[in-house]
């Protein structure tokens, strides 16, 4: 039997009601696997923020998750507009969210900073007009 579990999720465009389905599923699975509560919390928060960014800023995409006894690896890939200035985007409070999204309570510019804070490793690869790939890792211990 393998000690890696691989999961894939499709994040659909502009559907706020479904945003959070992927991170919710991973959260429930981690609890069933007996991950430490703090680990579950970190993954749930970091992944939800990434998922919602894909919906708001990038017309959806795919999320691949790999879980091993050592770590949780999350790869969030979209073919959205890309991020022009990653350093700026990472600043707390920076947001380009349109008004209709802000009306729903998003757009505080806290997503990426939270992802950075709650993951143990994070990397962003992005190309304007091509898309964005966010890779995050959370260690099990």
């Amino acid at each position: 039997m393998s000690d890696t579990i691989k999961l894939q999720y499709t994040v659909s465009t502009d559907d706020f009601t479904r945003a959070g389905e992927a991170s919710g599923d991973v959260k429930r699975k981690l609890k069933k696997m007996g991950s430490a509560p703090e680990v579950v919390r970190k993954v749930a928060i970091a992944m939800y923020e990434g998922e919602i960014n894909m919906v708001i800023h990038a017309n959806g995409g795919t999320i691949d998750v790999e879980i091993t006894p050592e770590e949780i690896l999350m790869v969030l890939q979209d073919s959205g507009p890309g991020i022009a200035d990653v350093e700026k985007a990472m600043q707390a409070g920076y947001s380009t969210a349109p008004d209709r999204v802000r009306a729903l309570g998003f757009g505080a510019g806290m997503g990426l900073p939270n992802m950075k804070q709650y993951s143990d490793e994070m990397e962003i690869e992005t190309t304007i007009g091509v898309g964005t790939k966010v890779t995050m890792k959370v260690f099990q211990t």
Binding site: L7, K27, K32, M33, P37
Partner: protein
């Protein structure tokens, strides 16, 4: 006798038809139909009563004490839940109910809503003094506390560590009865008139306290019919027995506890599915700036409990009318209860009952197997196997509690395969 996992919902196997209605409704997927009968896994059950509500054959039975239990004690005190007052038409004085309770056979009464006012006062202070633990989550509904204990480990630190009103009422009532009668405490029966079986579990297997002070839990619906004639008899001249006002009575309905805290930023959710949604969001830190969260497993709050008579929404209206001319509160902490006696004495700890394997490696292997099995199953969640979803069956299989062929669709395929093989043999 504090069993860690106890459920106050039982099955009448003779009545159960194995129709699978309940397995779909259970919020924790605690029920399976095996060999044609429903079975509850105690570890998963939170006593929400949903299966009692849905069962068309009345095969799910809440356990509680019969009123005959009064005979077991020399002196008895009734602890009416505020939800009781919402059961009667045109009730304008709680004293009528309380006096009638004494005529039904109780020696004294102690309103749970009186103790609720004490809990409100203490909670106000706790919420104010612990901004680092905001939002504080109410612990008055035992089903909610039990749910958090098994499914939301990250939220345990937010639980309000104050005894629920009924527990505090039981302690104070016993103290008062001992003083009044001089009897030894064990000769006194403290009997809660409850809206739900969840409180039966809270009595037998309490969280936060080592042992409950409640001796028996009777159903509001049982006392209801006994009370009606007695209430008529005392309506014109009831005794003055009330010890609560608006704040205490409000605890009977959703939002009542929270409003008694006099804080601005609170949320009150009722109905177990809504409760779960709030807890999921809270765990993901999607809810900002809340000081307090009140959660009730039943629709409408305690008035929606399965041991009540009246439609919960009508009971809400009745309680509202009853409250209208009351003073804000009648019971106060000062001189009545020492603060430290009102707090939990036992820690509530995470019970990972839903864990699949013995360790992480084992769990991952089993989870991988669950995913693999789910690919095999048709994904209809038809319930014919006795599990609520295909995924639940897959988990049962990896836990060693079911087999792949329990899925009738897999079985059908297998039979087809066999008959193909036979016809091949025939042809040879």
């Amino acid at each position: 006798m504090n069993e860690k996992f106890f459920t106050s919902v039982n099955l009448d196997a003779d009545l159960c038809k194995g129709c699978i209605n309940c397995i779909k409704r259970c919020p924790t997927q605690a029920i399976r139909v095996r060999n044609g009968k429903a079975e509850i896994t105690n570890e998963f059950c939170i006593d929400c009563g949903e299966c009692i509500r849905i069962c068309p054959h009345h095969a799910k039975l809440p356990s509680y004490d019969k009123l005959e239990v009064l005979k077991d004690y020399e002196y008895t005190v009734a602890l009416p839940a505020p939800a009781l007052y919402g059961q009667f038409n045109n009730l304008d004085d709680v004293n009528i109910v309380l006096t009638a309770l004494k005529r039904v056979g109780f020696d004294d009464v102690y309103e749970v809503s009186g103790a609720a006012e004490l809990v409100s006062e203490l909670s106000r202070e706790y919420v104010h003094n612990h901004p680092e633990l905001h939002p504080i989550i109410s612990t008055a509904c035992p089903s909610v506390t039990r749910l958090i204990r098994v499914r939301f480990p990250n939220l345990i630190e937010h639980l309000l560590p104050i005894k629920p009103p009924v527990e505090l009422a039981a302690e104070l009532a016993r103290e008062r009865a001992v003083k009044k009668t001089g009897l030894p405490p064990e000769k006194i029966g403290i009997i809660f008139l409850s809206p739900c079986p969840s409180k039966v579990t809270a009595m037998k297997s309490p969280l936060g306290t080592e042992k409950s002070n409640i001796d028996a839990v009777c159903a509001i619906k049982d006392i209801y019919t006994r009370l009606l004639p007695e209430m008529k008899a005392v309506a014109d001249d009831p005794e003055e027995l009330r010890i609560s006002g608006k704040i205490g009575i409000s605890w009977g309905t959703s939002g009542g506890e929270a409003s008694g805290l006099l804080v601005e930023n609170y949320l009150a959710a009722d109905g177990i599915e809504n409760v779960i949604r709030v807890l999921e969001d809270l765990e993901d830190e999607k809810l900002d700036n809340l000081e307090f969260i009140e959660l009730n497993s039943c629709n409408g709050g305690c008035v929606g409990g399965v041991l009540t008579v009246e439609n919960p929404y009508l009971a809400m209206v009745k309680l509202k009318r009853l409250r209208k001319y009351m003073t804000v509160a009648k019971s106060h902490v000062e001189g009545v209860v020492a603060e430290e006696d009102a707090y939990w004495t036992e820690e509530v700890t995470y019970e990972p009952v839903f864990k699949l394997g013995t360790d992480m490696k084992d769990s991952i292997a089993r989870m991988a197997r669950v995913e693999e099995l789910c690919e095999h199953f048709p994904g209809l969640d038809c319930g014919s196997c006795g599990a609520p979803t295909c995924k639940a069956l897959a988990e049962d299989i990896v836990r060693g509690k079911a087999r792949e062929h329990d899925c009738i669709h897999v079985l059908k395929k297998y039979i087809h395969h066999l008959s193909d093989e036979f016809s091949k043999l025939d042809g040879e």
